[in-house]
Symmetry: C2
DNA sequence: GTAATGTATGAAATGCGTTTCAATGCAAGT
DNA sequence: ACTTGCATTGAAACGCATTTCATACATTAC
């Protein structure tokens, strides 16, 4: 395959001049420029981008780390990142970790090895300290509410969002409120738990451990929730569910088990995916795609200006009232 | 940042020896190996992967081209690709094209520039001829039923799958059958149309253009379908829908419009996403994740062996009977 | 005891584009 | 006429790991 030196020889110029033409630098006589372009055409020249990466010391690639691309929560974020990256001529490297710490570290290593210029961490299992060790290797943005450190972050204020949902249910007269979350570990889950307890404390109600459902990620998890719910002696009258998918599952299987929504059980969930509209689910809209865009932007800004200014942004949510709760 | 030469100097060996240690080659005295490792440790050495890419002439990166990561159809495929790629130590570069031909060509250019070793095209707008021009730049696999060319491909036999759905409905006594598809262009859509007409011809029924619904991609498109359906003078009694999402939308909005499933309208769809189970949708399961895995495998095999053997694989589907049709 | 193998190591070439630095030519400014 | 400055161009260094080839010594084989 032809390289820049062959082009130079054929066009009768130096490699520097070829490079200038290639990169649209000024100070090249029109005549030589044409000669170079013609030589490139003749030899069917194509840049070897890896040589560019090596020479420039950057790749215009940003990594995205997430547990599972197929989950709507993450694919929505990814979509936002992808759209924005494209607008700025960046490429995306996907790291699907499945919450395997080892794979997460591997992604971070790729940052260190300059495979990519920056990294967006949508969710992670590894400790913050472990991730911090890679901060010097390129901008990293975390999509979670991190404090007491110098990471860039965009996040949803899950505390306030959860409080919003809780207070909405409380205002509707509910006191027996349960909730469904995804992972039990993870900062977001802890934040939600805190908000849950805070809201209950405000109305002097003790949290009931039996009304906390973990590992609720997919629509099919709704079935398990309904079944467990039916088996309970004392049942909650309302559920706050961290995903429309799971809420949909609860509603649909609830129907099969004779659970009437919202009379037997009121439901407020999160996301506002199209399925929530279709099922009439009262939900708290999470701006996931926007979060992806913002995340990319932080990285981009940092790379462009070379200034790493610690920045933490929180995105607003809004409750969309429908009939489920 | 330290490079291989500095390590060599500090360890008192040649760069070749350092490289040998780095790549676990034999013929390095234990004593020197240790010296090298220690030097690497001392200088906090990390490979510059771009130099490796350049020197090796390959990147262990495979590109994935698709219109929209957030669509469950594609995120399911992507998930399969990602899982398999990870197993073999490959990385994934995502090209979200939104069916913009220009962006598609840009992805193909990246293949030519050796940014990646191979490319998986989940769906595309560009002509086959345009894509063919890039075949020499690396293995490309198309996830569609392509004939008369030398592409690698993994696909679902959409013709048979559609026929399966049609015949199922016909056997149930339906003759007034309509269908919903995504894009009207695209090979898959043409294939489906052919199967549709074939099935009707077999029972001597004329296709009705009013019963074809295009641009059905998301759950919310179900609303439009129901509305149009209600406005029709002569209505179909059954619909074949190319996505569970859309079928779900039709069922849910159908309820609001007083359309009883399956009595007023029988529905058979495709995918078998969890939502189909939740809603009791009779659906034809498409092995999307598996398709992603196979696609990666074809590329991998090709890269590993260096043999490009034209290969076209079709994956079987199965009808899962539930209550919607 | 000599040829044939195997082990161990380094110098140098290779992959390829970018960037810096020095040099030349030519026009405007004093 | 002489400095200043911009336009134009090329040589060479740079980024960095891999790989080939040659060399030297140590075994094993016949």
């Amino acid at each position: 395959m032809a390289n820049i030196r062959e082009i130079a020889k054929l066009a009768g110029v130096s490699v520097s001049t070829v490079s200038r033409v290639l990169n649209d630098y000024p100070y090249v006589k029109e005549e030589k420029r044409r000669a170079v372009l013609e030589a490139m055409d003749q030899l069917n020249y194509k840049k070897n981008i890896n040589a560019v990466h090596l020479a420039k010391g950057k790749t215009c690639i940003v990594g995205v780390m997430l547990p599972d691309v197929a989950h709507p929560y993450f694919s929505a974020m990814m979509e936002g990142v992808a759209e924005e990256a494209l607008r700025f001529g960046y490429h995306l490297l996907l790291f699907q970790t499945n919450y395997d710490v080892h794979k997460e570290l591997e992604a971070l290593e790729m940052l260190r090895m300059k495979q990519m210029d920056g990294l967006i961490i949508c969710s992670h299992m590894a400790s913050i300290e472990a991730i911090e060790a890679y901060m010097e290797d390129g901008p990293i943005v975390l999509c979670e509410d991190v404090k007491d450190n110098h990471f860039l972050s965009v996040s949803i204020n899950h505390y306030d969002a959860f409080l919003l949902g809780m207070n909405y249910l409380i205002k509707k007269g509910h006191t027996k409120i349960g909730y469904c979350i995804g992972r039990s570990t993870g900062i977001n889950s802890q934040i939600r738990k805190a908000a849950y307890e805070k809201a209950l404390r405000a109305i002097d109600v003790q949290p009931n451990d039996e009304w906390r459902f973990e590992q609720c990620l997919h629509i099919t998890d709704g079935k398990r929730v309904v079944e467990k719910l039916c088996s309970l002696h004392e049942k909650p009258t309302a559920l706050l569910v961290t995903s429309d998918q799971v809420a949909a599952g609860i509603i649909l299987w609830g129907k099969a088990y004779g659970v009437t929504i919202p009379n037997d059980l009121a439901i407020v969930s999160f996301d506002n995916h199209p399925i929530a509209e279709a099922l009439g689910i009262t939900t708290i809209e999470l701006p996931l795609s926007l979060m992806g865009k913002k995340a990319f932007h932080m990285i981009y800004h940092c790379l462009k200006t070379g200034i790493y200014s610690e920045q933490k942004e929180q995105l607003p949510v809004q409750l969309i009232e429908r009939m489920s709760g």
